[in-house]
Amino acid sequence: MSRDAFNPPDAMPLREALRGLRFLLRRGGETIAETVNVEALPKPASDLASAMLREAGGLARTVDEMTSGVAKTVLGGQKSPSAPLKDMIGGPNAGAEFAVAVYVALSTVLRHLGAPTVLVSEAAARSAYGNLAPITAETSVEKRAADLTFCLLDARVMRGTTAQEAALVPGAALEAASIFAVMLWLQSARSQDENEAALAAATDMAVALAPEISRAVAGKDASRIEELYRRYVPHV
């Protein structure tokens, strides 16, 4: 078999499953720790609860190590594709590339916003790209980006935002503002060296625009989102 003919298996579902498991264990542990005062429980219930929490913590750490280990060695690194959106769309592997870019960038944006434990679904991002309406050569990149914004929201690419209270953006606006930041960054002209600074700038801009983004998203106003991209992409 020639090397060209060999198609490696799609590792995305495995990554997705491991991330989901890690999220459940982390959130589950947090929820129990926040809601149950183990110290106040009578024996032997307190011993049992402490052991259960230790076990859950150990499992979460194991999955963390597995996820990062597997991702780095067996499945390949998760480097974000840095191509601008206009170059990415229409490519032979566009859906997968877009999903990886969204996953990596969205995770970074959420950390920047103080919401690091929100689950980001690469599978949902790939599905969102698949749901993008057919485009013509005349469709502007801002229009495609606005449509993709709503596809990502509909696909629920972020999970667990309602439980997030420590974010820079209020919980209700977090999802739309974070996705807006990623799409703004994806459209911006930038070198490889500027990727990180550009993403941070796009995030800051999304925070400043959060009320406006929320209004447009609540009203399903894709043309307003498109207008915001047209106006602010050159300033990232």
């Binding site: 930038r190 700038a201 800051d204 801009m205 925070v207 625009l209 050159p234 300033h235 990232v236």
Partner: protein
Amino acid sequence: MQAGSRNFTEDMCPMSEIRPNPASLPPTNEPLRIAVRRLRWFKVAFQGFVDATGRDLGCTLEIDDVKLAAAFMRWLTSIEIQKPADKSQRKDFFEFAAALMLRELTADMPVKARGPATLADPGSAAAFWPEGYCCTMFCLSVHTAAMEQEFHAHTTLDPAIDDLRHWWSFRENTLQDASFSSGFLQMLLGHQPNWMMPDVFRARIQSDLTVQ
């Protein structure tokens, strides 16, 4: 150069020995007028300038990134709204853009001094209001570099920059109305601002014409 005004290359703040420093701005492959309207460059430039000023003044100056980004966004909007269609006014508007930048920075100050400016002369503007001083010098530095690059024009400053009474007035009035900052910067650049509407470009043009 106007009589009594000073060039940036001269030592123009003897009270504090601190001066605007356009050379401290980060490098960019783009014209400065483009780079300064990119938040990624603006943030790096502002952070670098604030850090250097804090070291010179002997105090820690902290930046609120959220406030800084909001000021930047408001500045973009205001220059977009006021930008004249007439190309002959381009140079004047360059100066005015710096004044609008100072207005937005002082409207919701993104810099906070932690402690007094121990290395600044106690009677200097820098010691009196480190945050306002730092933002003003940043705007003047960006303006100087952009004017040099676009028009090969040297920026000159009004002697008022060394007069603490002007800084006192600047701080007091800006707390009441941020548009005062626009007038203050225009004054430092040797203009006679329209104090009724210091942040309206068309009003500034009319005011300048009246003076001439």
